[in-house]
């Protein structure tokens, strides 16, 4: 009898040691993303990317030898749900870092919690307010509107255009662009002769465009996304016979826009991250390898074209992963410190250089000026 008992104990000991071998806790990164709701065209690719990266890293043996777990909560594009999601990640799941949210208002709403909890947040939202002024625990990966606007303004100057009309959508993204245009335009010598707005679900912008047509603007700059009217603006412009060039925001850098705008999209200009023109990027560009691989992996797994927004999520996660590897630690304070030390990180949005004063890490070179030619994206000078 005693032998049986010892045998059982021995077996249990062996089994137990096995479980502790496998039970080393995973490294947990949280994500608050707008998978549903008005921002879902941005949030869904971000969620997909999180799944993709988690699989790829774990297939290669994990992070620091431990399994990587990315916990994604959907904030339904709503501030209140983003708040509870952040609480859950910080207080219940005890994650080491969080990526997201997808939109600027949601990021601004939850920022304070990360300072209080001393956990880093790497946002996938575009608003400049997120990192200016710099907050210790908050970073962001999308190129800021400031850079997009600056890129457009320098292109306008190169074409000797000094009077523009602007038409922006009344959501956080559109208004961020509008504020930037109004702030930087005059300084660059470009006068804004008309400032029109439309709402996200508006179906007809001919009134605003008619007003613009009657001004002496030499170009039209419109800020929106395919799902919030940019395609309609593009089509209305052609319908009204407006011939001045149309510049759009980097938010339309997706195949959906080409589909919706159809032939009206020919010749529109926009600053875009290199992700959507990955094929055209010259081989010697440092981003080429990263871009090509992400495009191939994403499109193979999800059978749908990449979007810039998925790219922002990829950058955010990989930056956190890099910080963890640099410090060989998944403690939030270490991740934060190492994020600030990252230099020359090649992402989909550009090459990132962080510092204690710079929590976005990109400059104007992150954008290429592209245009639609025969239904496809083409880099222009």
């Amino acid at each position: 009898m005693k032998q049986v008992r010892y045998l059982v104990l021995a077996i249990m000991a062996v089994l137990f040691s096995f479980t502790t071998l496998w039970a080393e806790d995973p490294i947990k990164i949280g994500a608050v993303l707008s998978v549903t709701g008005p921002a879902s065209p941005l949030g869904e690719p971000e969620r997909n990317t999180a799944q993709l990266v988690q699989e790829q890293i774990n297939a290669k043996g994990g992070l620091l030898g431990r399994k990587l777990e990315i916990i994604v909560y959907d904030d339904e594009s709503a501030v209140d749900k983003a708040l509870t999601a952040a609480d859950k990640l910080l207080k219940k799941d005890n994650v080491s870092a969080v990526i997201g949210p997808t939109t600027t208002p949601n990021t601004l709403a939850i920022e304070a919690k990360f300072d209080a909890a001393a956990v880093p947040l790497v946002s996938c939202a575009a608003g400049e307010k997120i990192v200016v002024p710099v907050k210790n625990w908050v970073f962001k990966t999308p190129q800021s509107d400031r850079l997009a606007v600056a890129r457009i303004l320098s292109h306008l100057k190169s074409r000797k255009i000094d009077k523009i009309a602007i038409l922006t959508v009344s959501d956080a993204f559109g208004q961020g662009g509008r504020e930037m245009l109004k702030a930087l335009g005059p300084k660059a010598g470009v006068e804004i002769v008309a400032d029109e707005v439309y709402s996200p679900k508006d179906t007809d912008m001919t009134a605003q465009l008619t007003k613009i047509k009657s001004t002496d603007a030499k170009a039209l700059v419109s800020w929106g996304t395919p799902q919030t009217g940019s395609a309609i603006v593009t089509k209305n412009r052609v319908q009204l016979g407006i011939t001045i060039p149309l510049y759009l925001s980097h938010g339309v850098a997706s195949p959906k826009f080409i589909e919706l705008a159809g032939s009206a999209g020919e010749g529109v200009l926009l600053p875009a991250g290199r992700l959507i023109v990955a094929d055209e990027v010259p081989a010697k560009n440092p981003q080429k390898a990263v871009l090509t691989k992400y495009v191939k992996d994403y499109e193979t797994k999800f059978k749908s074209p990449v979007s810039t927004f998925g790219g922002h999520a990829w950058d955010a996660i990989m930056l956190v992963v890099k910080a963890i590897e640099m410090g060989k630690s998944d403690k939030p304070a270490d991740i934060r410190a190492n994020l600030e030390k990252i230099k020359g990180f090649v992402g989909t949005g550009g090459v990132f250089n962080f510092s204690p004063q710079e929590h976005n890490g990109l400059d104007e070179s992150a954008f290429e000026m592209v245009s639609i030619v025969k239904g496809a994206w083409k880099i222009v000078k």
Partner: protein
């Protein structure tokens, strides 16, 4: 800003206004027959357009057939909604009816989102997308379609209500349900018919509009709300008022956005609604008696 700009505002306003008018007409038909305000009316408009897109994509039967099928399908859905969700509460309080129709509109939207996704979709223009110019303003062929179809529908409905037995039966119900029942009019049937016709009218509106505005699962909300405002503006219960209210609203929106401020364009519809409710609740062409408490 010259005459051509004003003309352009007018054309855009009338185009959009026709759709508001058709939506408002849908509201009016149901209200007249049953006294119910069907908050799901906007979803009929959405379904017309969205189903056309998908029938075209899935069945590859060409635009005219897809459109026909979509309108028929939406009418059937309208009938189903009446039969299964409205009839059980018909005798109930006004509050219950409002809540149920709101619930229906949300449910339909949610179901549509699950089945068709959250994307935006476009239909090809019925006769090409090259604009015609007229006195410096551009008018899309599709806009002409919208105006023509709207007028035809109004004419057809007028004939229906004054010449056919079903139409007269529905009108009788709107005046007095008990009396109609007593003379042998199947009130249940009339109510069902009113939902079918409203769905039909809404769907046609959605179909002719989609080439211009694109469609997605949630276009019904604003369209429904604005169509409803148009209804009140014209006078609840008055079909002519509903159509006129829609066009007036469309024109006011267009001129408001063009001349005053584009930021508050959406607010125009609701500001007018509020002002009318305070000052003349029976609307511009109001027929219905408004009792004061």
């Amino acid at each position: 800003m010259g005459f051509s700009s004003f003309l352009q505002f007018f054309i855009s306003g009338v185009t959009m206004g026709s759709i508001y008018g058709l939506t408002a007409l849908g509201f009016t038909i149901i209200f007249n027959t049953t006294g119910i305000i069907n908050f799901a009316q906007g979803e009929f408009v959405m379904l017309g357009g969205l189903l056309s897109v998908f029938f075209l994509k899935w069945f590859q039967i060409g635009l005219p057939l897809s459109v026909l099928l979509a309108v028929l399908a939406t009418s059937v859905i309208g009938a189903a909604i009446e039969r299964f969700a409205i009839r059980p509460v018909r005798g109930g309080s006004v509050i219950n009816l409002i809540l149920v129709t709101i619930g229906i509109s949300i449910f339909v939207r949610g179901l549509t989102m699950l089945i068709f996704g959250k994307d935006t979709f476009v239909l090809p223009h019925f006769s090409g997308d090259l604009p015609l110019t007229f006195a410096g303003a551009a008018i899309m062929p599709q806009s002409i379609w919208i105006l023509a179809v709207t007028l035809l529908l109004l004419l057809a409905l007028r004939l229906f209500f004054t010449k056919t037995i079903f139409g007269k039966g529905m009108l009788a119900c709107s005046y007095d349900k008990k009396a109609s029942y007593l003379v042998g009019i199947g009130v249940n049937g009339m109510v069902l018919l009113s939902f079918v016709i409203s769905a039909l009218v809404g769907a046609i509106g959605g179909v002719i509009l989609t080439p211009v505005t694109m469609t997605s699962y949630d276009v019904g909300i604003m369209l429904g709300l604005k169509g409803f405002s148009a209804c009140i503006i014209g006078g609840l219960g008055n079909p002519f008022g509903a159509a006129a209210g829609g066009v007036i609203l469309g024109i006011l929106e267009s001129f408001g956005a063009g001349l005053v401020s584009s930021a508050y364009k959406d607010a125009i519809a609701f500001c007018i609604l509020l002002i009318l409710l305070f000052v003349k609740p029976s609307g511009l062409f109001g027929l219905s008696k408004i009792e004061r408490v």
